[in-house]
């Protein structure tokens, strides 16, 4: 079904009963059959099956037969491409993709055109997103004006407009003095900075991991030192400034080792990884598949193993989709000229479940990395299911297989190496603030 905005005619969220589901809540450790009752946008009761809260009459009843119910996914990076790149994707298409993927809350980086460096732009984005009433959208503000790395943005104003942190996105801040000042200024107000670990020079012209594959295919290399050298700089600046640093998309075993030491030292640092880096490595580039062109690059098998281990031991905090829709014209190019990026919003759940399955990790444990943990990084009381909490959740069948095709994707982007491949784990319904914003046709919803 398509989600229309007509729901808005009724300002009060409906009273919803979600019965017969298996409820997974990583934060509380719950994994048991429960019936959920939602009213006025909140969870009002969570009861063993068959019970009903006193005086609750449901406007909508979703009767499940053992399918899973979990807190809505919290995605630390999804590019919605507005403003500026509407030919790649629109807020409408990508917000639909988000809820179709079970994502109820997402962070969008400031690499739009113009970049999110003025409160007006952030307010407009928030306003447009609110109008669509799907997932909650949390923009990151640009750390410097135009992401140019010279002049600081009005971070306090941007925070008031709704930014949850500040980032250079993929534009490394070349001038270390400006980087230092930006981190110092952000720490004054305790604003977190979200940075990629990319040296602005080393391997800057590279397009693939600096390993045997790049050597063999004749692709300019991005060495691991591109990440590690920058990490050393960033950690030292955190020591000096005390700023809270969130590291975006770590990619290498050596980088993760540095992060582990920084955390052991007690630095206020968190980090995420793209879900694709849990599965893909440089060798998957094969014969120059430009859908494998990403920043940071897919690295070696050893790096992938280190990423997986670091998620298990908590060194890496969260998994994100790193959703980046790219139009065909920018992808149907020789590998080195193709625009980096893959889509991920609708692949996040199946790829997290695949990882959990391969690592023999419980679904509840796995979901923690895409719900509670990222929500903690955002300092939001979200990503959990509890009575009195916001009713942001989704229903999924972990074993339902589906083929990734043009027809099964809502995102305008088709840039994924999984196109044509079968994945397990299908989102059946998504609820944001108590409203059903997405549902599969197969899911029975009875309306009073």
């Amino acid at each position: 079904m398509t989600v229309s905005t007509q729901r808005f005619i009724d300002p009060t969220p409906p009273r919803v009963a979600l019965t017969g589901g298996r409820v997974l809540d990583p934060a509380s450790g719950l994994d048991a059959p429960r019936d959920l009752f939602l009213a006025e946008g909140s969870v009002v009761a969570m009861l063993p099956q068959g019970q009903q809260p006193d005086g609750f009459t449901a406007d909508q009843t979703i009767a499940l037969s053992g399918q899973c119910v979990a807190p809505g996914l919290v995605d630390l990076c999804a590019r919605l491409r507005e403003p500026g790149f509407e030919y790649r994707a629109t807020l409408e298409s990508e917000m639909q993709a988000a809820v179709a993927g079970g994502v109820t809350r997402l962070v969008c980086p400031p690499d739009t055109d113009p970049p999110l460096d003025e409160p007006g732009l952030v307010e407009m984005l928030k306003h447009r997103a609110r109008g669509l009433a799907q997932a909650h959208v949390h923009p990151l503000g640009a750390l410097t004006i135009g992401l140019a790395g010279e002049q600081l943005t009005e971070m306090a104003e941007l925070t008031e407009a709704g930014c949850i942190g500040f980032s250079q996105s993929l534009q490394p801040l070349v001038d270390t003095q400006v980087l230092f000042r930006a981190m110092q200024y952000a720490s004054t107000f305790d604003f977190p900075v979200w940075l990629y670990a990319r040296d602005p020079w080393l391997g800057a012209a590279g397009v693939a991991h600096g390993g045997p594959l790049a050597g063999r295919l004749g692709l300019p290399a991005i060495p691991v030192a591109n990440e590690t050298i920058r990490l050393l700089t960033l950690f030292e600046l955190v020591r000096i400034t005390g700023v809270r640093l969130h590291l975006c998309r770590l990619s290498s075993a050596a980088g993760i080792d540095l992060l582990r030491k920084a955390k052991a030292e007690g630095l206020p640092v968190t980090a995420d990884v793209s879900v694709h880096h849990l599965h893909l490595i440089d060798l998957d580039i094969g014969d120059y598949d430009s859908n494998l062109r990403v920043d940071p690059p897919f690295r070696s098998q050893r790096d992938r193993s280190a990423i997986r281990a670091a998620l298990l031991d908590g060194t890496l905090d969260a998994i994100c989709s790193d959703h980046s829709p790219v139009d065909d014209d920018a992808k149907q190019l020789p590998f080195g000229e193709a625009e980096p990026g893959v889509i991920g919003l609708e692949l996040l759940l199946p790829l997290v479940l695949k990882w959990a399955d391969e690592e023999k990790l419980s679904m509840r444990e796995a979901l923690a990395r895409v719900t509670q943990r990222p929500s903690d990084i955002m300092a939001r009381d979200a990503g959990r299911l509890r009575v009195g909490g916001q009713a942001d959740l989704f229903v999924f069948d972990p074993h339902a297989a589906w083929v990734v095709t043009n027809d099964t994707l809502k995102s305008q982007g088709r840039n994924t190496p999984y196109l044509g491949r079968e994945l397990e784990g299908r989102v059946l319904a998504t609820v944001v603030e108590g409203r059903l914003v997405f549902q599969k046709e197969s899911l029975a919803v009875s309306v009073m």
């Binding site: 600096g210 050597g215 295919l217 004749g218 692709l219 120059y288 149907q332």
Partner: protein
């Protein structure tokens, strides 16, 4: 799955994109076929025979990166086979007008071509083109005439032809490749062809700034000292050093490069006395190679050029024989 894009269902050569993954039997077939096109000229050299095997066929030279010399060798090969040849310098026309690579290919495919000879500055571009052509015009064969740093398969095949001609058995020789391996498609394609043909020892010799990662995985030994690397080798393949790389972050000056990596008669003496010296051209005399060596008795550089015509004819003939 990777690389099989070069072969059709029956295992015949359908596109020539890389020497990597090219079956030994096909390499030998090309070398043997090339021999058919050569006749001794009575003065120790060879002439290339004309044979109208591709009469009525159209071959498009599509050069996204300019190279008069390489284009000419393909042109001559096509003419000796009586094919019609069309030369297109695409960088100067359509792409400047904003047309996309695949739009250009679609347009040219609609002009009833049988073969595309493609050169592009980006590694992997011929793969993109071949995948696309397989969808829209599967009867067209793609020949890679050099893509970025990746591959230059016809150069490698003519080099193999040259080595076989002068040395005979691939399994009894040591080969050294000297120079800018990092940026060289000739080196990569050469290494894959040499390993496919069973050469037991392949060395590359260069300063560390000109060596890519992953050479060990490709089955070669690296040397940074020219004299040590040349010790007892039977074949020396020199690489061209691009002008723009002679001064900068990779190398300080052509003079210093020549002093340490230029092939002189003195250095050559460390190789096997009957070693041959090869170069893909165009040479930078006094940078990577001394004139005395380039013009000396061990140089087979001009033979390479003649053999190159025959080898390209052989590839065109073979591609023409494979169905879609």
């Amino acid at each position: 799955m990777p690389r099989s894009i070069q072969l059709n269902q029956k295992g015949q050569l359908h596109h020539l994109l890389s020497t990597e993954g090219l079956p030994r039997a096909i390499v030998m077939q090309i070398l043997d076929r090339a021999k058919d096109f050569l006749v001794a000229d009575g003065q120790g050299g060879f002439e290339v025979k004309s044979q109208p095997l591709l009469a009525g066929k159209s071959i498009f030279n599509i050069f996204f990166e300019n190279s008069t010399r390489t284009r000419t060798t393909f042109e001559i090969a096509a003419k000796r086979l009586s094919a019609d040849i069309v030369n297109l310098n695409v960088n100067a026309s359509s792409t400047a007008k904003g047309e996309s690579l695949l739009d250009t290919i679609d347009n040219l495919a609609a002009m009833q071509a049988d073969m595309f000879v493609v050169r592009h500055s980006q590694s992997g571009a011929p793969y993109l083109i071949a995948r696309h052509i397989n969808q829209v015009a599967p009867q067209i064969h793609i020949m890679n005439a050099g893509d970025g740093r990746h591959a230059h398969p016809t150069q490698a095949l003519l080099d193999m032809f040259t080595i076989r001609h002068f040395k005979g058995d691939f399994t009894q020789i040591r080969v050294a490749i000297v120079g800018d391996v990092l940026h060289s498609r000739v080196a990569r394609s050469g290494i894959h062809a040499l390993t496919t043909l069973g050469v037991p020892e392949i060395r590359v010799i260069a300063p560390k700034t000109l060596l890519p990662s992953g050479l060990a995985e490709m089955g070669v030994q690296t040397y940074t000292d020219l004299v040590k690397g040349l010790q007892d080798v039977d074949v020396i393949m020199m690489l061209r050093l691009q002008n723009e790389r002679m001064r900068g972050a990779l190398l300080p000056s052509p003079q210093e490069y020549f002093k340490h990596y230029g092939l002189t008669e003195d250095k050559l003496r460390h190789a096997h006395p009957k070693a041959i010296v090869m170069h893909p051209g165009p040479m930078n005399r006094g940078v990577e190679i001394d004139s005395a060596v380039a013009d000396g008795g061990q140089s087979v550089i001009l033979s390479q050029v003649t053999f190159g015509i025959a080898v390209r004819m052989a590839v065109m003939d073979l591609l023409n024989q494979s169905g879609p």
